[in-house]
């Protein structure tokens, strides 16, 4: 077990190393110079000063080592546009993203898994066909478009739910108010992951149904309710956990578009604005931060997987 954890940690660190290196080469290979330096009205001595301060006058190898050391020390640099530390800016906006991501994850799990089980419980029934139709649609719908449609319906036409922001301006914080703002973006963010988890749960369930121990349970005279609720459930849901791990990066990635659409003040909309404003340090810092966060959470899911399923050998 300890060996397994160390191995996973090592693999995670290796991927991070590659991602951070990739970001460095991305900047190095970029065409032209930094946008602030490309300004023709800029005094050459000022430009040289900026270059020296940013270490751009050094060789690529020196810059690479510096870049890696700095990030290794947890320093993501300062935003080119705002001049503030990237890490501070991320931490300020992280709670909003966590709230949205957590809400979407709850929807994914509590809608995706039950509907997958229902579909597998009565395979090829009209219910199963209807659910599988929905999942095909859910996987093909651009989530931001669904967001636009829901805003048009619920905010513009019906006026039931707010379509932008995180709370009513000028009003004190209230849970109800926050939930009203949270509903639409969370549903939209969860659409494709819910559809995917449903599909996966269904096929995992159907695979277990054909196994010998299920036949034994049935031949003992156990009711379908007990067979499904106990015997199949335990075995079918464990692989579902892995897909949940793969869902995280998709939720986080999707948050970028959805936060922008709903003006949700999280790190996703910040990253999009940074990309539009060519704020290289801010966007790279956010990318690295998000990569670390997701890799670490996946490590936890891996461990949970091992605890839940003793058949898995940590080798």
């Amino acid at each position: 077990m300890t060996e397994y954890i160390i191995k996973q940690l090592f693999a995670g660190a290796a991927v991070l190393f590659i991602v951070v290196s990739a970001t460095f080469f991305l900047i190095q290979a970029a065409p032209g110079r930094l946008s602030i330096l490309a300004d023709p009205t800029l005094d050459p001595t000022v430009a040289a000063n900026i270059e020296r301060r940013l270490g751009l006058d050094q060789s690529a190898a020196v810059q690479y080592v510096r870049w890696m050391t700095r990030i290794g020390q947890g320093d993501l640099g300062n935003s080119l546009v705002f001049g503030r530390p990237v890490l501070t800016m991320i931490l300020e906006r992280l709670p909003a993203t966590l709230l949205l991501g957590f809400a979407a994850l709850l929807i994914t799990v509590f809608v995706g898994i039950p509907s997958g089980i229902i579909a597998a419980r009565w395979p090829n029934s009209p219910l199963d066909q209807g659910l599988s139709f929905l999942s095909v649609i859910g996987l093909a719908t651009p989530n931001f478009w669904l967001g636009i449609l829901l805003i048009i319906l619920f905010s513009v036409t019906l006026g039931w739910l707010p379509g932008a922001g995180m709370q009513t301006i000028g009003q004190p914080f209230s849970v109800f108010d926050r939930l009203a703002y949270l509903v639409l973006p969370a549903i939209v963010l969860a659409t494709s992951t819910t559809a995917e988890l449903m599909r996966y749960t269904r096929s995992s369930w159907l695979e277990v149904i054909n196994q010998d121990f299920v036949r034994s349970a049935r031949s003992k005279g156990l009711s379908e309710r007990v067979v499904h609720g106990k015997h199949i459930m335990k075995n079918a849901l464990i692989p579902v956990l892995t897909i949940l791990g793969l869902t995280l990066p998709r939720l986080v990635g999707g948050a970028a578009i959805i936060e922008s659409l709903f003006s949700w003040p999280g790190i996703g909309s910040m990253a999009v604005n940074a990309a539009i404003g060519r704020d290289t340090t801010l966007i790279l810092g956010t990318t690295i931060f998000v990569a670390i966060a997701v890799i670490v959470s996946n490590l936890f899911i891996d461990l949970l997987y091992g605890v839940l399923d003793p058949r898995i050998r940590f080798d």
Binding site: V15, T141, I276
Partner: protein
Amino acid sequence: MATASSPVKRGRGRRNQWQVFLGALAKNKLALFGTTFLIFVLITMAAAPWLPIPSPTRINLAETFQSPSARHWLGTDENGRDVFARLLAGGRVSIAVGFAAALMTVVIGSALGVMAGYFGGLTDRLIMRFTDGLLAVPVFFLLLAVVAIWGSSITVLVVALGFTRWMGPARLIRGEILRFKTMEFTVAARALGAGHVRLMVKHLLPQAMPALIVATSIGVGNVMLIEAGLSFLGLGISPPTPSWGNMLTASQFYMWTAPHLAVYPGVMILLTVMAFNTLGDVFRDALDPRLRSSGP
């Protein structure tokens, strides 16, 4: 006798595979609908120059937000441009980018997948660890970073999508190679003196063709969704070139005055992506039933 019968046999084999494909397509109603839709759209797009429709980029501020008419089949947008013409032009861009990027993911994915499966051992472990690792990274942020640094030309988009979405194809193709590399034909080719490269490219890769087709088809759908998202944010295909994604950017600002503008491009993306996804399922069922177990 043997020489005379073999071409006939091969011909029949081909037709059978085609029939199996059509059979699988007929069974999957959504795929049948999607494929019909896709063929219809592709033909209309190809015929666009001969259709009596205005140029997709012609701005006419006297004719903004018009309803459908004989002149403007689906009405006009905020700049008085013909929505139908823009849908066709935008679709050409979106589908072309989707296809190019999906091919790129399959090329990169199969190169790595074949190497991992063929060499096995440490090479395999390294490549697959990296593949799994990259799957855990929210690549959308990486794409944002690429676009921020390199700008958002179509070439950058295709290459960036290719380099960040190859993991699925790589895993699929590795599995296939693992299966084929112990089979007699591989052993025979090796015994005849075929080298590593020849074995991989000439003998193993063609066998994985069904997997490649499945991966491409599903890849087009995935990549089109990401491209649409980036273009919607103003970080993908940039105006005046229309794409289904960037047509939705503008519609966002006219939700009150012209909500219908938001409908058409979204429906087109939804149906096209669904067509490619379900077509991928059909290919999987028809070409190689064993692939079915590899999940959704």
